[in-house]
Symmetry: D3
Subunit: 334 residues, 6 copies
């Protein structure tokens, strides 16, 4: 039987499925009897749920972030839906289909991965190609890279987001490189690959998206440099010689400077053509993704504007009917 | 006889050619006798020149910005070259080959112009195509657009620079548009065409590059909006209907927001996908141009770094021999 | 029968009047029965209202921003007043007295308009006087200028606010001009008239105050320049000659620079004495209005300070009894 | 015999007058013989002067800031005038007419002083009037207040500048107060009087303009508060009662907040109507003075723009002939 | 009988004690009957309380900030505790043990005071020692200095906090001074003593912590300078000579510059070694106090991070078990 | 024979010693004859030097940064000393006593090194002690750490400056740690040791001070993290177990956050007590060093103020005679 997602629940439905718990409170009702107030979520949304007559012993059995198999009934209360629970039971996260609980890219992860490999394994510079191979031979890294979001909130905040963002930037780089002679193609593609690779350790993305301790204390930029220097030691096994010092210098610089300015967390500004291009393509892909996502998430809302997005500092204009640009719908400008 | 450029002058040469005067001072020598100290320039550089025993009546005959036919002799003085003048004579600027005196694009202006026309006349939206035609029918505008630099100092600061920058951005837009579905191609290309069109009135570029009074008081962003609204009134002659209001709104917004932030002189931040893309491609083309120009202008200097550029806030790393990236030249990283 | 305003409603009153709907939600009560929760407003304030047993068909009949003729009863609920509705009926906005629903200036709009005309029609410079006449002959413009607020929230946020602010600035200019010889009086007065004229198109003010699409995408500064260039084309009909180029340059510059700094949305800083004075008087009138309004709106509150105003970044000190400044009320400073 | 000012010196003139020394260097000529290189100044400008064959013993006899009676001959050298000195002799500054050496206001200091007194002695609030009297009874203060510039470089940088600026602000306040009901006139006038009074101790202005040690370490804002609290203790001698605490609080606040923002050196932002008005009038008078001075000092320069002023961050537009605003001189705008 | 603190109340308890009222609202229940909703607080926390059937006459009898003797019963309501009141009676604040209601330092105030005196009375410079004695002879000042918090929210926000912060800074100064030869020890210790002394008048701390009118309009920095100049006039009574001018200059400068930068409210940056050291030790003590307090207040929370503190702009990392730093608990880094 | 330093050269001296060349220009004299203009330096200063009749072949024989054995004669020219060279000969830098050419700490480097070792080898945490040992066993690192300056210009800009700054911070940490319970002493000391260790690779300091390519592209913060991770792999050889993960996390965080704010180049702000303390002690030691150095370098200048230091944004007040603080020298404050 296929899963019943939160956005499919209706008043009167019976509930019988696994959900992610994202909030847990022990409260008392008007008679002083304790009950549990939970929030249950999956990738489509969240719903409050109450388990009456339920004390400390039940509450201690699980934590926010755990998965629960829950049975109960959906009802309307004060204009919103809630669940009155009958039973709850903790489920190991291994037994759960993660993609049911976290938003994920609409593209095919295996195809994106295939495209990433194709870019990397066709690099002309043998040192960089060998470096890429060393990364791709690391199975844990590859699995993380394929799963990790590109951000918790701002952009590409879904499973596979990092991979999608990276491949999209490689596509943009491939298109733009012919316009700017004097920029090393291989370095740029490698810079794109590495620039956010540290997010695989900065973020947590096996349950809810968040930051790891290392992510908060170190950040993805220094983490990526560390990952590079570690993997770089394996290159001589493939090529018989160490990565040229000059190449490592430029790779590390591209990672460190890709946020473009010190106050955005880059300890150095871009000072090579390749670092500059990686920074600019990152900015372009990120900003365009944000604008287009605002429009997409708001497309059923009849307003001419998306809601104000505080992180982005603006609303996006959706405008009137598409015919407007061709003037069929109304008055002209004169 | 072909022109003798400033960078070809040598100690002992006879001088006999037209030069642009960019500085004029009346001084007195140790005996109190007055002489003229001038700076003569062409597109390859400048040289100081002295005309002994020369008083007010000579000095009043011309101003900085004028062209002079000058004869005299080149000599070394305190380690630098200077000219001791025999005669000077003012020349009308119409008789002068402007391109000898101002730096110009290395690309062919007619070919760039052809590519611009091709982009514009193939626009799918008939209103935008008609608008483009109206601009292209304005001969003064076209001549200015083909001549104007994109800046006085920062980037594309040469005759034809605006055109080169515009076509380069159109190329980039054409390449990137397929990656970002939901962005209107015709609007973006028109936005690229218009975004800096106001520079044709903001700048002066018939002698030395500078700012017009209107340029300083109004700026190219409001000027471009004015140019658009004026030309837009001619569109109905071609299409039989006014430019749709919605289209004008989005065109004006693209121009106004293309600097991306208020403190860079845009009174609005980009709030449509097309305005965002025009802004980002402008940033990308400008920054890449600056980095690559720094490298190019400094290529004969053996230092690993370009000189510090205060406008850019950085030096650019040139690095060692090109072989370094392949490790043939030296030690590796381990 | 005169209107019963929201701030006159008391527990137990019968309600029977027209109100502006500013919020509409369809909710379900504890038994799952749907009801409508509305907010009704007029210029004196707002009150929540419920219509029991009311479904989608009723809710679809009107939108926030519409006017409703409502009957029902006022009651206390959880310490606040609310309305239990019996009937609601949509009313066309043409049939409504707008001034009952929007706050308006305490001054007489016709008298303010008279004073504005007097300033403008007595300008000494015939070109500027003719320009002013052209604006005043445009009936739509005049009606909008007389109605428009000067802002949505920050200052003069009421019907007639723009006119009041403009005349107040003209009064200030008239007083200050004799102190600063070398400043052109006519230019300053015209600059004051035009500086915020674009707000007539930037804002919406027929129902609740807000921003038009053009207002958000273009902003009142470029709109005002556009209005000026359009109306300027009519001047030759009155004077027989075009507006002098120099005059237009200075007028456009005054509008563009009146916010004083780029990061406040002016693409140019003031660079003429007149532009500087218009900017400074605008700042002065706006800031003084804000301080005095904070005091006025808070005059019944016994605290020595107005509430914190986040837009203004401060509270205003009201102090003790007025006698304090004369020391009759208490201890001195020694 | 009237003084020969620096701007009246010509090649070949004999020099025989007192000058202010502003630079002193002991140098050696090509033969190693020492000579003194000085700069001599008066209020009209400066000129370099050399005293040949002059060693340490002469150099030690005076310092920059001293006055010298000098004899010698003016000559042209490398296009500029210089003085070859015969004799120099130190002169006590008491014997010197200070106004010959420092720029001073073009207005009459006694008349300005009279107007200041008139404003202050007609204040309605008896406490404030008494406070003003106490200041005016302090002869040292009055002499300093009449002499002190309002700044070293930025604005009103001349003897009498503080007084001129203060009276100009009082004029502006007098004109504007009727427009803003609810602002206490007496407090505003007193605030204007006190706001920069600390400059009498912050600056030095008996020789060249500069900052005192106290001025650099404490600044005119805290100094003015100190002056106020000290003089305030004398008020009870006149009125029989101490200055009301509330009045002192508002006076101190006006002084402390008059720069408007923390990063301009005001430890508090304006939080009373009177403090806000004093701040705004100060800004207005200062900025208008700066714009008009730029124009005035540059009036003989044929350029349409004043030179770039780095402190002000801009050039000021002077425009074409005055007729331009009336269009007699040229083409129109269409 | 010892006081029952808010954090000791449990469901079903009888309440019979004095509390501080910090909120008062008159509401109506569902039947329209009025009741009072209060917040009662002591230094351990707050609890809501309701007095049924209680009208205006009762509500007018006291204000937030007053103390009430209250009787009633504690009960659970919607998962939180509240009080149902039987009687309330206003109590004069003099009869109340202030330390029961405001948080206070964990250190002994008399011992801290003793240490402060010891530092001050052993100063080597007789003028500074005499100045300190004059401060310590002022009983009101001493009582305030011993009671005042160092801030309302940010750091040392408890009774005795100013004293604790001052003595902690003196300890740090004493330790650091030997490392930086050329810094005057006596000046630094006096600077530490005075730097925040103005908080005794800036803040209110007899009921809830807050700002006085003088505190908001003037601020503790100018107040401290005023206190210093006033007390300084008493020094000659002890020493027979006025405080040296140079000493006063440096003392005032230390107070004025101790925030380090203009935009933090210091009208001058530190320009003497002593002012620099006082500023740096203040920063150090304040920041370390904030970090350590975040950790302490959150020590029972099992998360690895303290909650986000918006004033501080960060969370603090608490990490795993303390054993982790010694690696007994888990995996290593390799 | 002991070296004759630049600051000991006098008019007429014979020159015969090794100097560092810091500038080289080939010029032509009035007759067109080429000559070399050099700048010769040692740690006490620089002097211009000319080698007449010297062409390209000589100039190509050495570069700025090389050492030359030079003979010639010192003479006065235009008030300054210069050298007329007879012979120059390139000298290998290995044969040169580096300390003659670069400024160095006034403290004993071996004693500072001894104190550093003592701090590190007495650390209580065995992992950190082992880590320190691994660093100290690396001879190249130790030699660099003992030689490197702490900066090129701002502070401790001399040979041994990094070591001096590090030990000074350890002294300060040792003194302050007892005041702030809850801060791990061993972590702080290790953080101090590591925080600027990357400067050993960021800077060049074998000839003139400057930045390495790696220094400019990567910066000392990421370099130090890299050095730490590399050396950390050697710890298990000493302790038999890897460095605990938690320890490494906190060490890396201390290095990364020690500049305190993102716009100063730290990609993270301090979020542990130890990171906060290391940052604050670094700030304190650096700022105090800068203030005291300004005073020291200017001690022979009779002005009351040091010259304006643009990097520091201020001048430092030196004040009158030291007696002033005791009032023996003059008037008091009353």
């Amino acid at each position: 039987m296929s899963r019943r997602f939160v956005d499919q629940l209706r008043d009167g439905d019976n509930l019988e499925d696994v959900y992610l718990v994202t909030d847990k409170q022990l409260r008392a009702n008007r008679n002083g009897a304790p009950y549990l107030l939970l929030e249950l979520r999956d990738r489509t949304g969240g719903i409050p749920a109450r388990l009456w007559n339920s004390g400390d012993h039940v509450a201690r059995g699980f934590d926010p972030g755990d998965f629960l198999f829950a049975t109960g009934k959906v009802q309307l209360f004060q204009g919103s839906l809630q669940v009155i629970l009958n039973t709850i039971e903790r489920v190991e996260s291994q037994k759960v289909e993660l993609t049911d609980f976290l938003p994920h890219t609409e593209q095919s992860v295996p195809k994106l991965m295939e495209r990433l490999r194709a870019y990397l394994l066709r690099l002309g510079n043998p040192h960089l190609r060998a470096l890429a191979e060393c990364f791709l031979m690391d199975e844990v890294f590859v699995r993380n890279f394929a799963t990790c979001p590109a951000g918790v909130k701002l952009h590409h905040a879904y499973v596979g987001g990092l991979l999608e963002h990276t491949v999209s930037m490689m596509d943009a780089a491939e298109k733009l490189l012919p316009l700017y002679a004097g920029v090393d193609r291989d370095l740029v593609l490698m810079g794109v690959f590495l620039h956010d690779a540290g997010k695989t350790r900065e973020l947590t993305y096996t349950r809810a998206f968040g930051y790891s301790d290392e992510g908060q204390l170190i950040g993805h930029i220094p983490i990526a440099v560390e990952m590079l220097t570690e993997i770089a030691t394996k290159v001589p096994d493939l090529t018989g010689e160490p990565l040229p010092r000059e190449l490592m210098l430029r790779l590390r610089h591209m990672i460190l400077s890709h946020h473009g300015e010190l106050n955005y967390g880059s300890p150095k500004v871009p000072m090579t053509p390749e670092a500059m291009l990686v920074h600019l393509i990152d900015l372009l892909d990120t900003r365009m993704h944000m604008v287009l996502r605002e429009l997409k998430e708001d497309k059923n809302n009849p307003s001419a504007w998306t809601p104000y997005n505080a992180n982005f500092g603006r609303r996006i204009y959706k405008g009137g009917a598409s015919g407007d640009l061709y003037g069929e719908g109304g008055g002209g400008y004169d």
